[in-house]
Amino acid sequence: MLNTVLSARNGQASGTPEAAVQVEGIGKRYPGGVEALKDVTLDFPAGELTTLLGPSGCGKTTLLKIIAGLLDPSKGQIRVKGKQVHGPGPDRAFVFQDFALMPWATVLRNVAFGLELRGVAKAEREATARKYITEVGLTGFEQSYPHELSGGMRQRVGVARALAVDADILLMDEPFASIDEQTRRKLQEDLLQLLQIEKKTVIFVTHSIEEAVYVSDQIVLLSRRPGTVSRIIRPNLDHSTDLEAARRDKAYLDCVDEIWQTLKQYLV
């Protein structure tokens, strides 16, 4: 049932039209000499959610930040829709692990912030922000400040902010890692529901195997540092009918187990 693609994809043509983001031969060495990534080549299919999964310190967040343009790679290049990019762009929006909300700004201003930076008029950007605040289920909290919200609600603000700039690609860096287990499950379901409306390409970093299998169309397993692509797995879960059922699906359990068997070798 599982559709496993081996990592030796270098020979394969990377110009497939449906790839929203292409990572080509990316390597990253930090000034201290630590090599975080080594020759990573990957395609992220348009309209799909791809997870970067691996042991802690494998460079998944580094790779995501390189794709976001927040970090410069030491080697290789990033293409978005076929065009090489340097630095952040309007086509990509980032969701942060620690939410990165401005504590001095209301939910409304936080969500509208990306548009504010682009110089969109106040009335217009607030109308857009309100739409996405509703979409993530925070109606009524427009005038609240981040410290008045729970962790889960704060990340909903982070997601709304990323959606508000209307980028095609969402980059999510362990978005639910600092949120308690029950809230996290709810957020995962809501994210999947949201993506059925919004049709985005999502690159999602997590260290939770269950989370990766549950939300992903495609899972990229990274090896220990220096991170390289170890395996690519497609869980093929059916989310369209019942979001709850997927967690009881045999395919879900098998996939979790298979990934665990692979990742186990990287643990000490």
Binding site: L70, R92, F94, W104, L117, R118
Partner: protein
Amino acid sequence: MADRTAASRRGLSEEVAGAGGHQIVERVPSDRQWLWRLISFAVVFGGWEIAGRIPVSPSFPTFSATIVALGEMLLDGTLAGAYAETVQPLILGMLLCSVMAVLFGVGMGLSRTVEWFSLPIFIILQAAPMAALIPLITFLYGIGLTAKVVAVMLMSAPIIVLNSYKGIRNTSPSLLDMSRSFMATRRQQIVKIILPSASGLIFAGLRLGVAAGVTGVVLAELLITPTGVGDLITYYRSVAEYPHMFASILSIIIFSSVAVTLLQRAETALFRPET
């Protein structure tokens, strides 16, 4: 009065406050705390009264005598006259110093070159007893208003500069990443992220600066020219009117606490909509 929470105090005493540098604003004391506060006043003032009655020293007045003297000085305008003089160099010095020191500290936080050239100096100046330079001030500016203004600035500048600098450098890296990922220009990043996030520590620096500035003006009035409150203290000591002398000192301590508290209230009212 000066009952600040631990978090804000750590910001005040040069310890770097948490990411974002936001100060927790003074809590309104509950009924029980008022009771404790009352007991606390009673114990300290009672102790003072007893020590004055023994007396510990002929030049140590009782609490009641001091309060009577304070009342007298308030009523006959002595204090008002003295503070009219003391406040001038303080306000002038603080205004000048706030603008320059905050700008400099911000510049130091934003530019690596400015940082390299000036951070070590300010670290040393902040740890050093700047009062040692006060004899020089007389030398440069004589004994007029200018000398006192300079004394205020000398005492308050290092802490304001360093706190502003720390405020800038403490901006949460993930907020900086956030603004970059949404493609903020450097200008937008400074105006919309860095400065709001630094404002907590900058204001904390200004409060500390005011406290240091009061020390500066008192020192100038005691050392350079006998005017204002400094003159009152010196005069009453020379004529051995100890209750009045204690009352003058009490008044400057109250003045400083009130000034610092008012500054915090003003900050909360004007710049902290989220609280």
